[in-house]
């Protein structure tokens, strides 16, 4: 890239490119017109609507060139992450939590898991080589479009995303028959138990690798599983977890030897 080119402002550059394009098109039109001669009979011209490129648009990469691009899908393509509009969160709104809503949320959750506790599959294509594009949206959680929420990681210290999460839809190759498998996974519970009406519900799932309750129950969560009090951050103060759900505790019930083996 020459230094003079670098001093050019983006707007100037686009104008230059557009002008060049118009001139080239005119020239091509002239040559084609001259070579075709005048048609014997006037055909009815089809109605063509020419879309005018937005002055800041970056030309799309052609499919043939796609493989040769070295930048990731989010580096230069607008809207950039920073430009994705994020609605203001209401930390004090009282969520409307219904049984039907809870079932719908859990059904959606179950659709991406082989059993309760399995890492969810990824419902969109991914960058096969790099985990940084995962983190771009999922580190903090982000609205990526109308009503589409990219959930926050509940274990941000684990950076090898594709180790555990595989894409659900292959995008590269032709459709295939799926293998038939009769495995029936352990189901997710509909909710924690309450000692009595008004008591705080217990935690119905393992806490292992879930370091941030607000990732799933915070102000961005679906209403049916959203907490009414996100500002009370010491969740386990009131909501008791269950040792029977936590893999850490399994194996301790047989003998105390194990305890000494892992806690010297």
């Amino acid at each position: 890239m020459s230094p003079s080119f670098r001093t050019e402002s983006p707007t100037q550059r686009v104008i230059h490119i557009l002008l060049l394009g118009v001139m080239a098109l005119a020239l091509v039109g002239l040559v084609v017109g001259l070579r075709q001669g005048r048609p014997a009979r006037e055909a009815e011209a089809p109605a063509v609507v020419h879309a005018r490129p937005h002055p800041t648009a970056i030309p799309a990469t052609s499919w043939a060139e796609f493989d040769r691009r070295t930048d990731g899908p989010n580096r230069r393509w607008p809207p950039s992450l920073a430009e994705m509009r994020q609605p203001a969160l209401d930390w004090e709104a009282e969520p409307v939590r219904t049984e039907a809503g809870r079932r719908a949320v859990l059904a959606a959750r179950a659709a991406r898991r082989a059993f309760d506790g399995a890492p969810p599959t990824v419902p969109h294509p991914i960058d096969q080589m790099s985990a940084s594009s995962c983190v771009a949206c999922h580190a903090e959680g982000r609205w990526i479009g109308e009503g589409v929420w990219a959930p926050m990681m509940s274990h941000p210290h684990l950076p090898s995303c594709t180790q555990c999460h595989v894409p659900k839809e292959p995008t590269e190759f032709e459709p295939l028959l799926m293998p038939e498998n009769s495995f029936v996974g352990l189901a997710a519970p509909l909710g924690g138990s309450r000692a009595w009406e008004g008591a705080p519900p217990t935690v119905p799932h393992t806490l292992f690798m879930r370091n941030n309750c607000l990732a799933c129950h915070g102000p961005t969560a679906p209403e049916a599983i959203r907490t009414a009090h996100p500002l009370r951050v010491n969740c386990l103060q009131c909501h008791a977890p269950s040792a029977s759900l936590d893999p850490w505790w399994r194996g301790f019930d047989e003998s105390d030897d194990l305890l000494s083996a892992v806690r010297p």
């Binding site: 493989d67 059993f115 495995f183 996974g185 189901a187 519970p189």
Partner: protein, 811 residues
């Protein structure tokens, strides 16, 4: 729990079962097949959990297996396991599904014409015994690094101490045997000195032709998670192809195939020339060694002096190495400076890149040698560590000795004292074990695929727990040819139909993983245990029982080898009252814990090379123990993390800092080797201008027999493809998704192109994964192998690549 809730739960479970069983969905319509049934609150309480090592790779993660109503319903990473600390990879999280593929083999099947017909177990066992009895010398057994330790012990004893035949080999021959010869050449004893704890302590991690982000993801995340916590670790990928591992590395040194030897020599050259090798370590603990031109087949070579060593390395200047390898000289200097800095903690990892190599023994020796020369050995974080691909390649094959030249506990078939020792421990008459090593894998299949009257002296072959019809190199020559031969009989013990059962004459349905008791031994010398948790489907039975049942039928036929010194059947097991338990009858097999008996017998073999194992019950309690496991004065058993290091290894004597107590030179020293770079046997030329590299992907484990039955994994990685460099693709006129033909001198295969997808090879190279049983890349690969380890090279051969027109022939 009240009755109504239980009924509803049962109803939900059944309806979900019916739905899942009926679904064979095409892509995009399959949400139903994946959906979980919803459960009322409090679910999961009735699930019974137990521990097991994961069924897949050699990392040896522990999983917790949740069982309800006799079926596996959930898996969790085991936080009590030191290997994985609660984390798994995508294969491990879905391992429970391997039991429930719709096409599990459930009854013995005998070939009739083009197809197979069901027969009874009794008929199958009888058929096998009759055939073996008629010609025991023409029978061979081919096993696996997925054999449990008990299965390997039974098969090894059956062959070597029963039939008096050494024609038993295991698939680690294709996977680990160059690591074995490397360890033996340098230290006189197999398996890594370090362990996974090195990954927590190193501050430089060098991966030699290794992609742990996909192949050993839990170990890789153990390192990069440290970085996420703020620790500084330099990750260096020395490879031929950009991978997910590369994405996490600060340095990527791309080398031309085979020139890893030049790079290692370049590092040694700099250490000697700059004088920053570890003089003290070398003076106290090392000798120098080279091959003996007079005895080129002798793996242990002959001594050389330090001066001769330096002179041999003279030519390997950074500039010369750059010319050979393509790695810039400054990067070779960077590696030299890293190794020359003792304040660093350097761990090297490698797996198939260095092992599946016609110079596999040599490059293994060289990587050990630069660690020894620089003194990056024996401190936590300073370790040359080979990884294994299978869950018990170490435990069952390298330790139990189920290779054609090995006996249990690091003993050799060719050594008379070792044979006598084993005959005593197995309680069989002296002279029972033959002195000549049996056929190694490539030779075994060559003999099986050669007509009986043309020197093909293996006629009956029993394959257990592996899939050679997909994994052997040059399949047309080493496997497919069997289809046209008369008088050859292939027996395959399997769990699903595979590329191998296609040609089988007799298929035996096997129990798998938590359908049986078992023990595995992982990459870091850790022996692991699990108990049977669910019943196998239909008439599937344990591989170990199959071996013992055939042995007993031979005993009934009067085969003398099936009797020990005392005249008893070689697999005699007595109950507490002293009565013999007829374990060869399936109904009685689980009356005793056969695994415990076989393990306790095998354990007595393990002291000789200081690979001491603890009693069975210690493993029942532990999440695996790393050998040598030595009894303490208070009766507890202590594992060893750092072998040969005085601060940890109880077999180091006299307060030494380091002691190589199985030294080849009998002087407690390790051997630093010089091995020159040499060209591989087949290189790209005008006719076949591309390098072909083959390997694995994260989602599938080896040939996909198990992972291919898991919808989540199959959907993420549905079929084989070929990776091309974008410039090569442009020159060939192909784009992503176009089909190209990969063709070698041995075979050809049509595959879709994937550019800058999962990996990205260098120019002039192509990569194809081998998991896809419908597209066998091993029909194209080369069967040339390392002269010491007899391990083939799946990583480089010459191919040509051409565009297949859309209407052309496609497979």
């Amino acid at each position: 729990m009240n009755a109504v809730a239980l009924d509803r739960r049962e109803f939900l479970r059944r309806s979900a079962l019916t739905a899942a069983g009926a679904v064979v969905a095409a892509r995009g319509e399959s949400a139903g097949a994946f959906s979980l049934p919803l459960l009322e609150q409090g679910g999961g309480d009735e699930v019974v959990w137990d521990k097991a090592p994961c069924r897949f790779c050699g990392t040896g993660c522990h999983v917790q297996v949740g069982v309800r109503d006799g079926r596996v319903v959930a898996i969790a990473g085991d936080p009590l396991a030191e290997v994985n600390r609660g984390l798994l990879c995508v294969k491990g999280y879905h391992v429970g599904k391997i039991l429930y593929g719709a096409d599990r083999l459930t009854t013995p099947l005998l070939r009739r014409g083009e197809g197979h017909v069901p027969i009874s177990w009794d008929e199958a066992i009888d058929l096998m015994a009759q055939r073996i009895h008629a010609a025991p010398d023409r029978f061979a057994m081919y096993g696996s690094g997925q054999w449990t330790i008990g299965e390997g012990c039974a098969a090894n004893k059956f062959m070597k101490a029963g039939l008096g035949s050494n024609h038993i080999d295991g698939n680690p021959r294709l996977c680990m045997s160059s690591a074995v010869t490397g360890f033996l050449s340098c230290y006189g004893v197999d398996e890594p000195a370090g362990c996974y704890d090195d990954l927590d302590a190193c501050n430089v991690l060098i991966m030699w032709g290794n992609n742990p982000a996909e192949m050993h993801p839990v170990l890789f995340s153990r390192v990069i998670d440290r970085r996420a916590r703020g620790e500084e670790i330099l990750l260096i990928d020395i490879g031929t192809r950009r991978t997910r591992t590369t994405d996490h590395c600060q340095e990527y040194l791309e080398f031309r195939p085979q020139t890893d030897l030049a790079i290692a020599n370049g590092i040694a050259h700099l250490l000697v020339k700059n004088g920053n090798y570890d003089r003290d370590f070398v003076a106290k603990y090392c000798n120098f060694r080279q091959l003996d031109p007079g005895q080129p087949a002798n793996m242990f070579g002959k001594p050389m002096t330090f001066e001769e060593y330096g002179a041999a390395l003279e030519t390997y200047t950074p500039e010369y190495v750059e010319r050979l390898s393509g790695v810039p000289a400054e990067k070779i200097r960077m590696l030299g400076d890293l190794f020359g800095d003792r304040s660093r903690r350097i761990t090297s990892l490698w797996c198939m890149g260095m092992n599946q190599h016609t110079r596999g023994t040599a490059i293994n020796c060289l990587v050990h040698s630069i660690h020894l020369l620089s003194g990056h050995f024996g401190r936590p974080g300073d370790a040359p560590t080979s990884l294994t691909g299978q869950p018990s390649a170490c435990g069952t094959v390298r330790e139990v000795g189920t290779l054609s030249h090995l006996l249990p506990g690091g003993r050799l078939v060719a050594n008379e004292a070792h044979r006598r020792d084993c005959e005593d421990l197995w309680n069989v008459p002296p002279g029972r074990i033959k002195a000549a090593p049996g056929y190694h894998t490539v030779l075994m299949f060559e003999k099986f695929c050669t007509p009986s009257d043309a020197g093909g002296d293996i006629d009956t072959l029993w394959v257990q727990v592996t899939n050679p019809g997909q994994t052997l190199p040059n399949l047309h020559r080493l496997f497919n040819r069997k289809a046209d031969l008369e008088g050859k009989f292939l027996i395959v013990s399997e769990v699903y139909p595979t590329a191998t059962t296609r040609l089988a004459d007799l298929i035996l349905p096997s129990a798998m993983w938590v359908e049986k008791n078992g023990m595995y031994g992982n990459s870091e010398r850790r022996t692991q245990h699990w108990f049977k948790m669910v019943e196998p489907p239909g008439d599937a039975r344990d591989d170990c029982w199959q071996t013992i049942a055939v042995a007993h039928r031979l005993h009934d036929l009067g085969h003398e080898g099936m009797k020990g010194r005392d005249g008893e059947f070689i697999f005699t097991i007595r109950d507490e009252s002293g009565a013999v338990v007829p374990i060869w009858q399936w109904q009685r097999y689980y009356d005793v814990n056969v695994d415990r008996h076989l393990f306790e017998e095998y354990r007595r073999f393990t002291r000789y090379k200081n690979k001491d194992l603890a009693p069975y019950d210690e493993y029942v309690r532990a999440r695996g123990l790393r050998w040598p496991v030595v009894e303490q004065t208070d009766g507890t058993w202590r594992e060893t993390r750092f072998r040969f290091a005085g601060f940890d290894d109880p077999y180091v004597t006299g307060g030494a800092e380091i002691q190589f107590y199985h030294s080849v030179t009998k002087d407690d020293r390790a051997q630093i080797w010089f091995r020159p770079y040499e060209d591989p046997p087949e290189m790209p030329d005008a006719e076949y201008p591309f390098w072909l590299d083959t390997g694995r992907v994260l989602e599938h484990w080896h040939t996909g027999t198990m992972t291919g039955r898991i919808p989540e994994l199959h959907r993420a990685m549905p079929r084989a493809y070929v990776e091309l460099h974008p410039d090569d693709a442009r020159d060939l006129g192909v784009q992503r998704g176009d089909v190209v033909r990969i063709e070698s001198r041995r075979g050809r295969l049509d595959l879709p192109v994937w550019i800058n997808g999962r990996g990205s090879p260098a120019r002039g190279q192509v990569f194809v994964p081998f998991f896809d049983e419908t597209r066998l890349i091993n029909e194209v690969t080369l069967d040339a192998n390392d002269p010491f380890s007899r391990q083939p090279d799946y990583k480089k051969c010459a191919v040509r690549v051409s565009r297949v027109p859309p209407d052309g022939e496609t497979r």
